[in-house]
């Protein structure tokens, strides 16, 4: 009963969109917290293409001067990186 009540209080009425900017090969913010059902949207300010890729998970193309997004389907933590520039790294914590 208590768990259910807390869950009801904690669940948002609508899924949120979390914005991440890519500028000069940096994901900003690099660490985010989200919930299942939320969408992450990356805005790429660079003149070169990037990806947001999780090994064995999502692989989002983010073209130059454009956007890319993913809707989070599972809870857990994910480290993602850019396949084209493996030094670019980000981290997402997804709550159920």
């Amino acid at each position: 009963m208590l768990t259910l009540a807390l869950a009801l209080i904690a669940s948002p009425a609508f899924a949120a969109t979390i914005e991440i900017t890519i500028d000069r090969l940096v994901f900003s913010p690099a660490n985010i917290q989200a919930k299942v059902g939320d969408t992450i949207e990356w805005t790429n300010k660079d003149v070169i293409a990037h990806t947001a890729t999780v090994k064995g998970g999502w692989d989002v193309m983010i073209p130059a001067k454009s956007k890319g997004k993913v809707t989070l389907k599972a809870a857990g933590t994910a480290d993602y990186f850019c396949r084209f520039h493996p030094n670019m790294k980000g981290h997402v914590e997804v709550a159920p």
């Binding site: 000069r24 090969l25 660079d46 070169i48 130059a64 084209f84 520039h85 493996p86 030094n87």
Partner: protein, 174 residues
């Protein structure tokens, strides 16, 4: 003119040992644009060769990254010089870069398989190190137009990523 180009060349290849030459002689914006564009074009040509010759996925993926990024940056550079009405000016540094790339290309053309992969990636590490050093110590400080300087700084961020990526792939090939 000869002195200036020689100093630029010295700076490009012996970055750490030529700080005095840097202070005294600096390339002009039309020359900087030409050097930056040439450096990009040469890396695209090397990438095309690697895409054609290599059978190693990491190497081919890296080469495709080089081709994609340098084409994008060079397009920006072309758009900028057009906007600024600057005509890139050939110079001894660009010529030296082209000559060195031609020699490297001839060397790579004779290699196959793992030997090719190793030589290509090692040259990519060295090449990006050289060009990044030149950007940092000579080209960026010498650029007088703010937009050109900004593009070079963006380029440096990208090319540092390339250098680290190349070093990573080189480590995997060992």
């Amino acid at each position: 003119m000869f002195m200036r180009s020689t100093a630029a060349l010295a700076a490009l290849f012996f970055v750490s040992t030529a700080p005095l030459a840097l202070a005294a002689e600096k390339p002009t914006d039309p020359q900087i644009a030409h050097i930056a564009y040439t450096a990009g074009t040469l890396d695209i040509e090397a990438a095309k060769l690697a895409i054609k010759k290599s059978k190693n996925k990491e190497v081919v993926d890296f080469a495709k990254d080089m081709e994609r990024d340098h084409e994008a940056v060079n397009k920006q550079a072309l758009d900028l010089v057009k906007k600024l009405k600057v005509t890139p000016e050939d110079n001894d540094t660009s010529k030296a870069l082209a000559k060195a790339a031609k020699e490297e290309d001839a060397k790579l053309a004779k290699l196959k398989g793992a030997a090719f992969d190793k030589a290509y990636i090692e040259n990519e590490v060295a090449y990006h190190k050289q060009v990044n050093g030149a950007l940092e110590t000579l080209l960026i400080p010498s650029a007088s137009n703010a937009e050109l300087k900004d593009l070079l700084e963006t380029g440096l961020k990208i090319f540092r990523g390339h250098q680290q990526h190349a070093e990573h792939v080189a480590g995997m090939l060992k």
